[in-house]
Subunit: 224 residues, 2 copies
């Protein structure tokens, strides 16, 4: 059964998935790069760069597991690229070059329609301008039995969380304080009551804490 | 050298130190009791209740260490008791009975002056109505070489954090989502940049994650 997953999503101890003052030159915001140091230190992420060292414990295992079994990815436009507004004639084609590491259809949420962009290695970017549910529907169709990843950024994950559409959420708590930025859990349920996720795995490594959350079987019953 | 410490302060995964809708009958807010289950499961906290079992690993060690070496405690009025406004003729004397477990002077932040309340076992509650700095000054005088604990609640700790007056902060991350409530790190530095604390210890147990933060040696230099 196909699941909707978030994997390897880093947040700071004070709850931010990106630092303040995001810009073209600093897409993760001030201090935001610290959220991903753990990932780039893993063996799996260092191998493609020609290194044969790196963390090969739980950090590496979680990083790799996040890539397994995926049939589609959904991301916000700000994760796809730094440009805003209507697409120009010769538009941005993503951060990832001509052979992006997805190898499956990627659905980019945007307010501005654009024809699909087919690149090498099985990655096609589809631009969806009719909302998160429409994007999920198209991703489900593309993924078949495989899982769907909500790739980010913070705002996109928050939208899917609030809509109750995420089945599994693997967060990586990085023990730094960013002070401000874009918060993942921003008063998810203003009236209180749990948002309906249970922690099913909790692992601390030398660098970070991995938490796997799974949607509770019957969230509606928990308010009683 | 006397330090200003916060110990065993629990926050939820979404950053809340208390749940929403705090009331007399529910002083920790909706769902807030989950933040303290780990503490009441420790051997040290169960012993006074006549039990000789309980968690005796890191949770117990951290819980006990938080009580060591203290010469004074500062707390907000809402932690002292559920009553608000001017003190009546026969006022609230704290949650802790006639022999409170402090055994040192406790400074209660309040807008309403009140004479000191001396109870058994060395605990005297002093009511400070001229601000957090005045309370800290008086606590320093009382503590001598020993440490000063900022006991809580969330609002009180936040005030001392923002003023840069806390030397050591031991947080306990509880992997539950409260949805809303009182947030410990509420945009601590709105312009970004780290609030000046480094994580010096990170320990996950079966129940929670302990994080010890220490004030960075030269916070001002970190913005460069």
């Amino acid at each position: 059964m196909s699941r909707v997953r978030v994997n390897n999503f880093s947040i700071s101890l004070d709850g931010y998935g990106a630092g303040p003052r995001q810009s073209h030159g600093n897409p993760l915001g001030v201090g935001g790069h610290q959220l991903h140091d753990w990932l780039f230190a893993t063996r799996g992420r260092r191998a493609p760069l020609g290194h044969d060292d790196g963390e090969d414990g739980p950090d590496d295992r979680f990083a790799r597991a996040g890539e397994d079994g995926l049939g589609a990815t959904i991301m916000g436009r700000n994760m796809f690229g730094p440009t805003r507004g209507p697409w120009p004639a010769d538009p941005w084609t993503g951060w990832w070059g001509q052979d992006p590491p997805f190898h499956h259809p990627v659905f980019v949420l945007t307010n501005h329609a654009r024809p699909p962009l087919r690149l090498a290695g099985g990655t096609t970017f589809h631009f969806v301008s009719d909302g998160i549910s429409a994007a999920l529907e198209r991703a489900r169709e593309a993924a078949g039995e495989r899982d769907i990843r909500i790739g980010g950024g913070v705002h996109t994950i928050r939208q899917y969380l609030r809509a109750g559409l995420i089945d599994e959420l693997h967060l990586v708590l990085v023990p730094v304080l960013l002070g401000s930025g874009e918060r993942l859990f921003a008063d998810a349920t203003p009236d209180g009551g749990p948002p309906g996720y249970d922690c099913v795995e909790l692992v601390a490594t030398a660098a970070v804490v991995h938490l796997r959350l799974r949607r509770s079987p019957a969230p509606a019953d928990r308010s009683r």
